[in-house]
Structure formats: C-alpha cells, structure tokens
C-alpha cells in the first residue's frame, strides 16, 4: 500500500543552520522516535533500529537511511528502506527549504510504500502511525534546531 503525507515546519533559524542540521546523519537520526540502536554508516547515511508499537503489533524495525541533498534546488531528499515483522517499508521524503526573514520554512512531502503482512493486516492502523511518525520526525527537526539556536 502507498501512503502519502505532507506538512510544514517553521524553524527559528536561518537557511544555513537548517541545511547543516539536515545534512548531518547523526542529528537527523536523533529525530526518529524510539531509536534503540544507531549506526552511522557514512557521511550521508545511517542505520537505525527502531522500536515500533501499535496496540498488539509490537516489534523492532531496522531502517537504512540515506540523505540526498540537492543544494541547487534547496531540497533535501531522504530515502528510508527497511522493515521488520516480515514487512518491508520504503519511504521517500523530500523537503523544500526556504528562508523567510528570520525563519526557515520546511515544506515536506513523503510517500511510504508498505509491503508484506503489515500492509494487509494493518492498513487501518499503519496509515495513521506512519503519518504520526513522519510528522514527528520533522517536528523533531524543528525542535532540535530551535533548541540549538536557543
């Protein structure tokens, strides 16, 4: 199943600060919820072991995450591939970054493709949880940068 999401964050920092943050795998990784184990595998990639739980559906997912900055277009693309519980998840997210006076606006869109038992058994649940997850990540990006700035 294919799920589409989008959202927006206003960050109290300038473009450069935001750009630096989202190019740093270590910092980006910290924005994922419930990370149990983290391996930085390159200057633009990391592997995260994440605990997931939706009601009775609980387990550990492993994600390989790659950051693909597109400086020319002021855009950051994120590819996330992994899964657990027999399920494969491919998530691609793109964020357009634009400075507006003192703030920087992050316009993001994401598309998640879920394959395997969770897609069949849990469509009703996954959609909401995936939305929560991706919203959480960008909210955390904002919160962390805001904190850095403060």
């Amino acid at each position: 199943m294919k799920l589409n999401y989008d959202g927006q964050e206003q960050i109290n920092a300038d473009y450069d600060a935001v750009w630096a943050f989202i190019n740093n795998p270590e910092k980006v990784a910290k924005c994922l919820p419930d990370v149990e184990k983290l391996e930085i595998t390159g200057d633009k990639s990391f592997t995260a072991h994440v605990k997931v739980g939706v009601g009775p559906v609980r387990g550990r997912f492993k994600f390989d995450v790659g950051l693909e900055p597109d400086a020319e277009n002021n855009k950051m693309n994120v590819n996330l591939r992994g899964g657990g519980l027999g399920t494969a998840i491919d998530l691609t997210a793109g964020a357009n970054i634009a400075q507006q006076q003192e703030q920087t606006q992050l316009d993001w869109q994401g598309e998640a493709v879920v394959r395997g038992p969770a897609a069949t058994v849990g469509a009703r649940v996954l959609d909401r949880k995936a939305r929560e997850l991706i919203t959480h990540v960008f909210a955390e990006v904002k919160r962390n940068i805001d904190e850095e700035q403060a």
């Binding site: 939706v54 009601g55 009775p56 559906v57 387990g59 649940v125 959609d127």
Partner: protein
Amino acid sequence: MFPASFDFYRAHSAEEAVSLLGEHGADSRILAGGQSLIPAMRYRLAQPTVLVDINQMQAANYITEENGELRIGATVRDSDLEFSDLIRTNYQLMSDVSDVVADPIVRFRGTLIGSLCHNDPSGDWPAAMLAARAKMIIQNKDGKRVVNADEFIVDSFTTAVEEGEMAVETIWPTPSKNTGASYQKIERKVGDYATAAAAVQLELNEDGTVKEAGIGITAVSYVALRVAEGEALLRGQKVTRNLIKAVAAEASKMADPIADGRGSAEYKKEVVGVLVAKGIMQSLERLGRKVEA
C-alpha cells in the same frame, strides 16, 4: 504459523496481574480471550515476551445488575452476554452486538473487556460503549479509577489503560423502560470486522420526544466516534424523517474512513449515515413507535 517464545504466568487476582505487568514492563500483555492477540502473535506481528493469563480469575467472571447499573468482570465472554436472559431482556444494544461480534466460536472465548481494551478501530464494542455511555474501571498497583467511554477510547488500539494497569470491570447504565436501541453493522461475512457500523440508543419521554440519545459509529475513523452533534439534534425532539436525515448527515460528516478491502472511503462515509438512520428507526420500532412524517 507459530508465535515467538514468551514466558507464561497465571494471575489469580487483579492485584497479582497488575503486579506481574509492573514487573515485566512494556512487553508484557494480559491474555484474556486471546482472540485478537493470539492471531497477531501467530503472524508475529505481536511478540510479547510475557503473557499474564487471567482466565482462571474466577472472581472476575460476573454479570450483576444493581442500582441501575450492570457490572461486568474481566473474564466475561461475548457468549455469556449472547446467552444471558438478563442481557436479552434489559440491554438491547449489548444483546444486538453480542450476536454479531466476531463469529459464534470466537464469541465463546473472546471477552467484552478484552475487546474494549484491544480498541480495534473497527471493533463493535467501542461504538456500543459510547452509545450506552458505559464506563471502565481500571486498576493499578495504587488502586482503581473510573473512566467514561469518551476518555477510555484514546487512539487506535490505545485506551486509557496505561502500562502496568488492567481494566477490571465495565459498567453499563441500565436503560429505562422507554429506551430502544439497535446495532446496525455491515460486514462482508460472519466474523468480518465491520465495513461500517452504528450503535444507537434512544430514551424517549412519555410524549415520544427524545429524552436522551446515544450514537456511536465504528470502522469509519481511527477510533470509534460519538456522533455528539447528532445526539444533540435528537434531544427533546420528536423523531421525524427529516430529523433522521439530519442526524445521519452528522454521522457521515464526521466519519473519516480509509479505503480498504471493505470499501472506498466515500462509500463508508455515506453508508454509516444510512446505518445511523436505520438504527434510529429500529430503536423506535422496538418501542412500538413509528417515525413521524
């Protein structure tokens, strides 16, 4: 399919269960009827490391009616409700639901409180709980607390029951003689989750106007929803066709379903209104009343 390994404990009292949950933390689960949990474990979508079985808690197996309330313990099965004369006579909504929840064999094992705690967004009982204005008693190591239906239902598969807590009793107000109710469910076959469903309970005044209305809908959002606007429209009014249409429209308006094998979002949104309407009409019929033109 075969579940992943876990440790198995038997609790003989709620205190013991709560203490075991406290000891083992987030990966421990209560095993009541197990009719949702065990299949999830067979698919290994759920892999709890500790199960606390409460089935031998004899003291939790009760259905009692006193002081205008029905109290039901944690090990009461759906079939206990289905075959209970008390329920059939005095609790129309509960009786309706207990006839259509899951399939007849699963009902012999599945528990009412277990279903409520599982809080499947397509489950039957949460919608009924809302319509009937039922409550839940939750126990933890420090004691008990009571939450009403609206607070109990938090999110998909998430209730007010926190880690280390256990729901021990559910309380359903005894409907007055002037109360009619109906559960309207569309399912693709016996045993299926609802495509959409509506629980309706109407209490009438002597003059036929609505004294109190309860409407819960399920399978049309991330949790069961109370159609509060619809309830408000009904209160104090004579039930006319136009009023029913307006209430149905409220249900459709607040429904926010996703498309799946059971149907498109548009269909579910529209049909849940039809089910609310049918539920109102049947509630009235059961009181020997007709919809006014």
